[in-house]
Structures are given as C-alpha cells and as structure tokens.
C-alpha cells in the first residue's frame, strides 16, 4: 500500500519532470500547494496531461493495479482532484484504499 507521502512524492517528481522542459521564466514552483488545474493553474493543459499520465503510470506500477485519474468519476467530483497537489494526493489515496 502506498503512503500519502509516497503518492505525493510521485506527483512532485512528475511536476519536476515537466518543469525541466519549461523555459526559465515559465517554470512552476513545485510543492504541495502547487495548483494544477483551474484559473490559478500554474500548468497549461498539455503539461497537466503529461503530469497526469506520468502519475497514473507511476502509481499503477507502484500499487500493482491500474488507476485512472481522468475517468468520469474524477472529472465529475465537486472538488476537482486537480485543484492542487494535496487534493490529487488525497484522491489517489482514496482510490487505492477502495477494495477492488
């Protein structure tokens, strides 16, 4: 079972990967409060999708089961799991806590 700290580590690494690709002046401050999606988002949608794909892959590998972060469920939640790193971490932890 992945801990929340491990999950957050995966998300931060994915953000750092994207950061490496960005120009110096458009780099994102990477931390637990980094806003992912919405009007305050630090990332454009293409970068966000790349981050999500990375996180999905990493978490699925580490947890040994496939998870989807962009299915209807994730997209229709009242509080978007992509609002910030905290929210995404909590959402993934909740997904993994469910019995399959």
């Amino acid at each position: 079972m992945l801990t929340e700290i491990e999950i957050q580590g995966i998300i931060l690494r994915a953000l750092e990967n994207v950061n490496e690709e960005l120009d110096a002046d458009s780099k994102v401050a990477v931390g637990a409060d980094t806003c992912l999606f919405g009007s305050d988002a630090a990332l454009d949608s293409l970068s966000l999708v790349s981050v999500i794909v990375d996180v999905e892959t990493e978490v699925s590998t580490a947890a040994g089961r496939q998870i989807s972060l962009t299915d209807d469920r994730a997209m229709s939640r009242e509080v978007s799991p992509f609002s910030d790193v905290h929210a995404l971490t909590a959402y993934i932890a909740a997904l993994l806590a469910e019995t399959v």
Binding site: N17, S45, L46, T57, T70
Partner: protein, 463 residues
C-alpha cells in the same frame, strides 16, 4: 490475357521464376498454364465460375491463376496467413471450386466446394464473360470488404512492354499489390525471385544470391533493414531500384537509405486496391515529394484530400456501397500537400490524432523520434483523453535497455525542440514486440497485434 501468354512464348528460354533453388522458364510457364487449363476442363470448370486459390508464392500458384483468368473464371486468391477469415471471405463472394496448394506450392488439389451467393454485382459481371479477381480488405471498420476487379483490365496496364528486371515480390498474392507486381514483372519478361519468409536476412540473402535489381518494399521493412544492418552482411550491389509504398515513409529512413545506397533509385509508389497502382516519380532531391498519375489515371485535390479517377478501377465492392462519385472520382482519404505537379502524402485521414482540436499526423512525430539514439522503431497513435479529446502516445522499440522515464524525457525534449507543443507525446510506452505486422506494415494501435488491418494503400511496383 492471351496477349500475355503470347508474350511469354516469345522468350521460352528466359527465366520467369526462381523458387526454392529451381528456375522456371517462360517456356515452362506456358506449358504449365496449358496443363492447368486441361485440368480445369477435366473438372468441368466453366466460364464465370468462382474459384478460390489457396497458396503462397510459387510458379505453380501463379500459373494456375493465369489459367483461370484465361478460362474466364472469377479468382479469389487466398494465402495461409490471410488477414480475413476464409469462411467470412467466401460467405461474401460465394465460391464454386477450391484449389488448395500444398505447403511447397507444387501440387494442387481441386475440389467442388459450393458456397452459394446471389450477389447482383457478380451476377452482372458474369454476363460479360471476363475473368474476375476478388480481393478482400479488412476495411476501416474491421468488417471485410470484397473488391471485384476485371482481371483483363488489371493486366491491360502492362501490355506496353517495359524493360525487364529481376525482382522480389514483397506483397502477397491475396493483395492487389501482389497481383500487380507479378503482372508487372512477367509482363516485361523479368524474373520473379520468391522468398519463403520476409525476414531481413532472407530477403538480403536472396538479393545477393540472385542479383536482384528491384526491391519493392514497405517503409517499415526498410527501417528494419537499416537497423539490423542487413546491408553490411550481404552484397546488395545488384540493387538498382527500391520502391516503397503502402504507408508513409519516414524522412529519416529515406535519408539513411540515400546515404547507404547512392547508386539506387528510390521511388515512392502509390495505389489503392480500388483504383489500381499509379505510375509515380519521386522528386530527385531526396524528399518525399512525388509525381503520381500516368496513362489512365487522373488526380485532383479537394480540401487537401487526394481524389483519383482511374481506367483500371475496380468493378465495385461486393458488400458495400460504391465509393466513387457520379463522375467516377474516388476519395482516397489520404491528406496531401501540393507543390506544382508534386504531392506529399501526409497520411490517412483516419490516422489523424485530434489533440484539443488540433490535427496531428503520426508520421511527423515518428520522423522525429526515429532519428533519436537507441530507437529501433516507433508507432505513434492517439488515445482517448477526457481533457484533450485525444493525447499522443508513442510506442517504441529500443535497441538496448533503457528506463522508460529516460526514454520519455529524451523523446519529449526532441519533439519539443522541433514540433508544436500539442504534438509532443504525452505518453511513451515500451514495446517488446515489433511494431509491424508479419507483412511489414506499421501497426498504429494501443496493443500491437500479430496481424493488423489490411492496408488500404497497396502501391508496390511501378517499373
């Protein structure tokens, strides 16, 4: 058809086939066609009857096909690794007789195996008494489409005799390109060199051994040839021309081929089962620009899509509505760029990936990735994504082991440097299995399968 056999008879000593170490002359071909004609008569196989022929390349398989054409039959060539299930195929076309060749392709057993069909197009065609040719494509929906051609008309394109060459047929006989190649080579009294399998080593060995001059191939095969360095192990100096078709050629593969084979003419070909294979000439600057057309073909471009009108077009689909418009133009579904009289083929409209409303052509991205270190092959395709509609996925085969994270970083960096942001792959997956089908055609799918959809582009050989 008779004109072709008459032409064979003018060069009885010349070698028509080199198959499994034996040479078969045009004189022997004429004899064999006669022998098969006698057998057809003994079985009571009459004009207009449908005959399925199961077998891979061998002189005898080709001779039986010629005999059937001369006898006015409707021929359904089938191969053992056919893309379409035999029963599904014959349920569409119907069948009167089944001719099965043994594995070696020498001996044939002909039996009556009626599968009824009341297809109106076939019924109308039978009244003409012309020989027919039925080929199957798996179609874009996966439902097989049966294509009916007038065999005489297909052969007619080769009545004007061209210089003879020694060539390896690459596409199989159940494919329009395969039949087109056989007619092109024998129509000019050249030599057909058959190979038992289409591995790089086997093909290179055959080129060296039989001094093959013309190699019609697919870009996937040529990419594989370069990666596996077949040209270093075998003497390929006899090659005069390499033609490539059925899919879009990566510019990087073309550049490498030009550098390695400076004496070889590289020619892109273009054709479709529905309209035949057009004559083509690549621009001589090493680019992918090509002039296509030739006698009996007309082209036009509507909204960037290529349309073709052809004297050699199919009679029609047996099980689908005609895709020709009232004036006889056929929509190829291939998107092209135009520069004067030259075209550049960008790929099938159906292969296009739509990322947030922006169109992405897989080949453009494959080109960039293929130029990177440690990449043997790549297939780019779209995957559904709720945020962007589709995302770009690159499936790669590596030369040496490398962590997927590292590969993705390199791929994204290279694509970001050369392409618009929306074209950069969001996902990179490693593949353990080759990305092309057993017939050396690229599989752009989420999960590669052993046999992919039959190619729509069939261009193979245009001497």
């Amino acid at each position: 058809m008779q004109w072709l056999l008459d032409r064979f008879a003018t060069a009885p000593e010349r070698v028509a086939f080199t198959h499994e170490g034996r040479a078969v002359t045009y004189g022997a071909v004429v004899d064999r066609v006669g022998h098969f004609s006698d057998r057809l008569a003994r079985h009571g196989i009459g004009v207009g009857q449908t005959v399925a022929v199961l077998g891979d390349y061998s002189p005898e398989v080709v001779c039986l096909i010629f005999a059937l054409a001369q006898n006015g039959n409707i021929i359904i060539p089938l191969t053992r690794d056919s893309v379409i299930e035999q029963s599904a195929a014959l349920a569409i076309s119907g069948c009167d007789w089944f001719a099965r060749f043994d594995e070696a392709g020498d001996d044939v057993t002909i039996t009556a195996e009626p599968v009824p069909s009341d297809n109106p197009l076939l019924a109308r065609f039978r009244t003409t008494g012309a020989p027919g040719l039925i080929l199957f494509s798996s179609g874009s929906t996966g439902k097989p489409k049966a294509i009916l051609h007038d065999f005489d008309r297909v052969a007619e394109k080769f009545r004007k005799q061209r210089s003879s060459v020694v060539a390896i047929p690459f596409l199989m006989l159940d494919h329009f390109g395969g039949i087109n190649t056989i007619l092109a080579i024998t129509g000019s009294l050249g030599t057909v060199v058959t190979v038992t399998d289409r591995s790089v080593a086997r093909i290179c060995q055959a080129i060296a051994e039989h001094r093959v001059e013309l190699l019609p191939a697919t870009p996937s095969f040529l990419t594989l040839l370069l990666v596996s360095k077949g040209h270093e192990q075998y003497d390929l100096s006899s090659l005069r021309r390499i033609t490539y078709g059925t899919e879009v050629m990566p510019q990087t593969t073309l550049d490498r081929l030009r550098a390695l084979f400076p004496q070889v003419e590289l020619q892109q070909t273009y054709g479709l089962s529905e309209v035949g294979v057009l004559r083509s000439q690549s621009r001589n600057d090493g680019s992918l620009w090509v002039r296509i057309g030739g006698e009996g073909f007309a082209t036009k471009v509507v909204d960037d899509i290529l349309w073709i009108k052809s004297d050699y077009a199919m009679v029609g689909y047996l099980n689908a509505p005609s895709e020709f418009d009232a004036e006889g133009w056929f929509n190829t579904q291939d998107r092209v760029e135009v520069d004067g009289e030259f075209f550049r083929i960008l790929g099938r409209v159906t292969d296009v990936i739509n990322v947030g409303g922006q169109k992405v052509y897989p080949t453009e991205i494959e080109d960039v990735i293929l130029a990177l270190e440690n990449i043997t092959d790549v297939a780019v395709f779209g995957e559904k994504n709720p945020l962007l509609g589709q995302i770009v996925v690159a499936r790669v085969v590596l030369t040496a082991t490398e962590p997927v994270g590292e590969v993705k970083k390199r791929i994204r960096a290279a694509c970001q440097a050369r392409l618009a942001a929306y074209k950069v792959p969001a996902k990179v997956v490693l593949s353990e299995t080759p990305l092309h089908t057993a017939r050396h055609k690229k599989t752009r799918r989420a999960e590669p399968v052993a046999v992919a959809a039959a190619p729509r582009l069939v261009a193979e050989l245009i001497p």
